[in-house]
Structures are given as structure tokens and as C-alpha cells.
């Protein structure tokens, strides 16, 4: 009797799990292209929004050896998104930055414009800051204005920024590389600054010498908006 119920139990569970596996694999296969396309589109949208004047984008990767490669799925390295205007002029590059905020990591994409050697736009792509306080880093107009033209010059030696990007107390901004923090959301403001600084210190010295190469890689066919 008991062996009979055991068999029944094993058979039922085996059957149900097999069916469940089959269903999941089917749906996974069916939705995979759409999911990847969605992710790509959402990154592309962000890149084109953050780089002013850009109408086409192209995804590059800088590998461990500092070489610039056109991105293919599964490649490891630093993501660089180049934004071009209609004639193929490089308007800027978008780079990812992230740092620990008040309640989790604050991930951003920022645009570096070679013409002014400055950061000209920033977009928060993921944050879990306190609604109404920490999320002002997205909505507060005065704070967002920090990134209209935030200096990010690479130093003479070409290995770091000339001046580190820092967040200062609200109203205490004196230098073009300082970020005027939001009062009441200092930690979130600092997280943005830390994310930008950490990424810019590391990535920009590598990207700046590669800018002509990036510009030359523009192809109207491969970079449709």
C-alpha cells in the first residue's frame, strides 16, 4: 500500500515538474528575442536622450587591454555608447556609473562631450532611494542643472581627472566640477557624484585618446536610431 502511494507521489511530482520545465523553456525561447530587443531599445533610448544632438548610437566595449571593440553579446569590459548626429559627427559618449546610495545602488548613464571636456547630461537608470526625498536626484530642476556642463577634464598625465567630481553642500558650489547637492537628499546626491567620479576617473582617460577612432567607426547602416 505505502509503496504504491510513494510511486504515485513520485510519478505525479515527476510529471508536474517535467511539464513545468517544458512550459518554462517554451516561453523562455519565445520571449527571448523580444526581451533582448527591449533591453537594447531602452539602452538606446537612454543614450540618445542623454547625449544632446545625437540621432544614432553605437555600442563599443573597451577590454582589459584598453582596446576598443565593437560590442557583441557576451563580451566583457567597459561599455561605451557613442552618439552621432545625422552626418556622423561624434556628439558625445555615454558611460555607465554607479555607487551605493541611501538604500541600494544608484546606477546612472552620463554623457561626456569631447567639445567642452565636460559631462553634459545624466540619467538615472536604476535607484531605490526614498520616494519624495532621494528620488529628487531625478526630478529636482536645480540638481539636474548641475549636469548641463560639469567639468570632467582629463589631467596632463592622462591617467585621471584633473579635478575629482564631488558633491558639495547645497549652495556651496564654486567650481565647475562640483555638484550642488539637494538639501534633504545629501546621501543620494553624493551617490550620484561618487558614481560619476568613480567611473569618469577610470574610463575617461581611456576613452579620450580613442575618440577619433570612435568617430571614424560611424556607419549610417550600423547605427540606425
Amino acid at each position: 500500500m505505502s509503496s504504491k502511494t510513494s510511486t504515485a507521489m513520485i510519478a505525479t511530482l515527476g510529471f508536474v515538474t517535467a511539464l513545468s520545465g517544458f512550459l518554462i523553456v517554451t516561453v523562455y525561447q519565445a520571449t527571448k528575442p523580444a526581451i533582448e530587443e527591449n533591453k537594447r531599445l531602452s539602452i538606446q533610448k537612454t543614450v540618445l536622450e542623454v547625449i544632446k544632438g545625437a540621432t544614432a548610437d553605437k555600442h563599443f566595449i573597451i577590454n582589459d587591454k584598453g582596446e576598443l571593440l565593437e560590442a557583441v553579446p557576451g563580451m566583457k569590459g567597459i561599455n561605451i555608447y557613442a552618439g552621432y548626429d545625422a552626418r556622423g559627427k561624434l556628439m558625445g559618449v555615454a558611460v555607465e556609473g554607479s555607487a551605493q546610495g541611501y538604500s541600494g545602488s544608484v546606477d546612472t548613464i552620463y554623457a561626456y562631450t569631447p567639445a567642452c571636456e565636460c559631462i553634459t547630461g545624466i540619467k538615472v537608470i536604476k535607484q531605490t532611494e526614498t520616494p519624495g526625498l532621494g528620488d529628487k536626484v531625478i526630478t529636482d530642476k536645480n540638481f539636474v542643472a548641475n549636469f548641463d556642463k560639469l567639468e570632467a577634464k582629463v589631467n596632463a598625465a592622462g591617467d585621471a581627472l584633473a579635478n575629482a567630481i564631488v558633491a558639495v553642500k547645497h549652495g556651496a558650489k564654486h567650481n565647475p566640477w562640483e555638484i550642488d547637492a539637494i538639501s534633504g537628499a545629501t546621501i543620494s546626491s553624493k551617490a550620484i557624484a561618487k558614481g560619476l567620479n568613480g567611473s569618469a576617473q577610470q574610463v575617461l582617460p581611456k576613452v579620450v585618446p580613442l575618440l577619433p577612432t570612435i568617430e571614424s567607426k560611424f556607419t549610417s547602416e550600423g547605427a540606425k536610431p
Binding site: 504515485a8 505525479t12 511530482l13 513545468s20 526614498t130
Partner: protein, 216 residues
């Protein structure tokens, strides 16, 4: 299990039960975690409600189809496997439909697995009824859950962000009542709705009693 003979008929009540008399949120107080956590905007509430409804209906169908095969010793495990399957499926579907909604709902989609409304339906309804009846009942429950989430989401979004479905309702001068989109706001609004429904119920009972007096 079946000392009481189950009624196979599908009535309007099979469907309406979940919306009003046994509303999962306002009457049974089940699945409070998503109710409080993702109702800070109407669109999140709607997406969460629809995702849960999908899982409810599909898992009820499968549980009901296999109801005579599943040995009672492993029924909970089997139900959970079935529910988890459909949660994973809905997770992929939402990702394929909208990355924004997926980001907004985050881990709460996966947490539908442990939403006791669904396990409750599998145990109380789907395991004892025919597939169609179970699905109708599950659809009613899902709709009831969605409506309840919307009740909270709409109020919280209007008060906490001054908008509805992302569209701003008031002018620039509007000072949002921030606490409403924070976790305490969930409790406050839920409490407000419960108070309202309790008041309705009491009033109905009183008017019934009054009628009884005049006719008696």
C-alpha cells in the same frame, strides 16, 4: 474530503464571489505584501493585479485538471511547482512587453509564488471543482484583487504624487503628500478603505433591521 457534495453548477456568484463577498484583500485580508508594497502608483497596481490574475487562472486550470491524480501527501508541493511555473512565465512575458513596468515591479513579480491567494484558491476551489468552474472563480478572485490594488494605487498616486496613471492632475503648485507613496501610506489608505467598507456593511445591516421593525 467530499462529505459535502460539491455543486458543479457555474453561477454568477462563482465569479462575483471574489469581487465582493470574499474579496481577497478587503474581506479575506490575503496577499497583503504586494497590496502594501506595489500600490504606490495606479499603473503598478494594475500590472501587479493582472499578473496575479493570470497566475491565478492558469494555475487553477492545471490544478483542477490534475485534481484526481495528485496524492494528498504531496499536493502542496505540486501546487507550488505549478504556481511557480506560471509566475516564471508571467515574469518573462512582462519583461518582453515592457522593461519599465518590469523595473517598477521588481522582485514582487517573483513573490507572487508565495501569495497566499493563489495557494488558497488551489486548495479551496481548484482541487475540488471542474476546470471551467475553477477558472471562472479564479478570474473573479483575480479581478477582485486587481480592483482592490487599484483602489489603493489610485488614492496613493493622487495624494502622493498628484497624478493618475502618470498624468499630472494638479498644477505646478501642488505639494505632494509624500507619505502616501511611502510604506506608511499603504497602511493608511488600506485602513481608510476597510473603514469605508465596514461603514457600508453596518449601514446595510441597520437599514435591514429597521425594515424588519416596520414590517414586524
Amino acid at each position: 474530503m467530499s462529505l459535502i457534495k460539491q455543486d458543479d453548477r457555474i453561477t454568477v456568484d462563482t465569479f462575483l464571489e471574489g469581487i465582493w463577498r470574499e474579496n481577497p484583500v478587503f474581506v479575506m485580508m490575503l496577499g497583503m505584501c504586494p497590496v502594501l508594497a506595489v500600490t504606490n502608483s495606479a499603473i503598478n497596481a494594475l500590472a501587479m493585479g493582472l499578473a496575479t490574475t493570470f497566475v491565478l487562472i492558469t494555475s487553477s486550470l492545471l490544478v483542477s485538471l490534475f485534481r484526481n491524480l495528485i496524492p494528498s501527501e504531496v499536493r502542496i508541493a505540486t501546487y507550488i511547482v505549478i504556481i511557480a511555473t506560471f509566475v516564471t512565465i508571467v515574469d518573462y512575458i512582462i519583461q518582453a512587453l515592457s522593461q519599465d513596468v518590469y523595473n517598477a515591479l521588481g522582485a514582487f513579480i517573483q513573490l507572487i509564488v508565495v501569495n497566499c491567494i493563489i495557494l488558497g484558491r488551489a486548495e479551496a476551489c481548484a482541487s475540488r471543482n471542474k476546470p471551467v468552474k475553477s477558472m471562472v472563480n479564479a478570474a473573479g478572485m483575480g479581478l477582485g484583487f486587481t480592483l482592490a490594488l487599484l483602489c489603493l494605487g489610485v488614492v496613493r498616486e493622487i495624494l502622493g504624487s498628484g497624478s493618475l496613471f502618470g498624468l499630472p492632475l494638479f498644477g505646478e503648485q501642488f505639494q505632494p503628500w509624500v507619505v502616501m507613496v511611502l510604506p506608511p501610506g499603504g497602511f493608511l489608505v488600506l485602513g481608510g478603505w476597510l473603514l469605508f467598507f465596514e461603514w457600508l456593511k453596518t449601514r446595510k445591516q441597520q437599514s435591514l433591521a429597521a425594515e424588519g421593525v416596520t414590517h414586524g
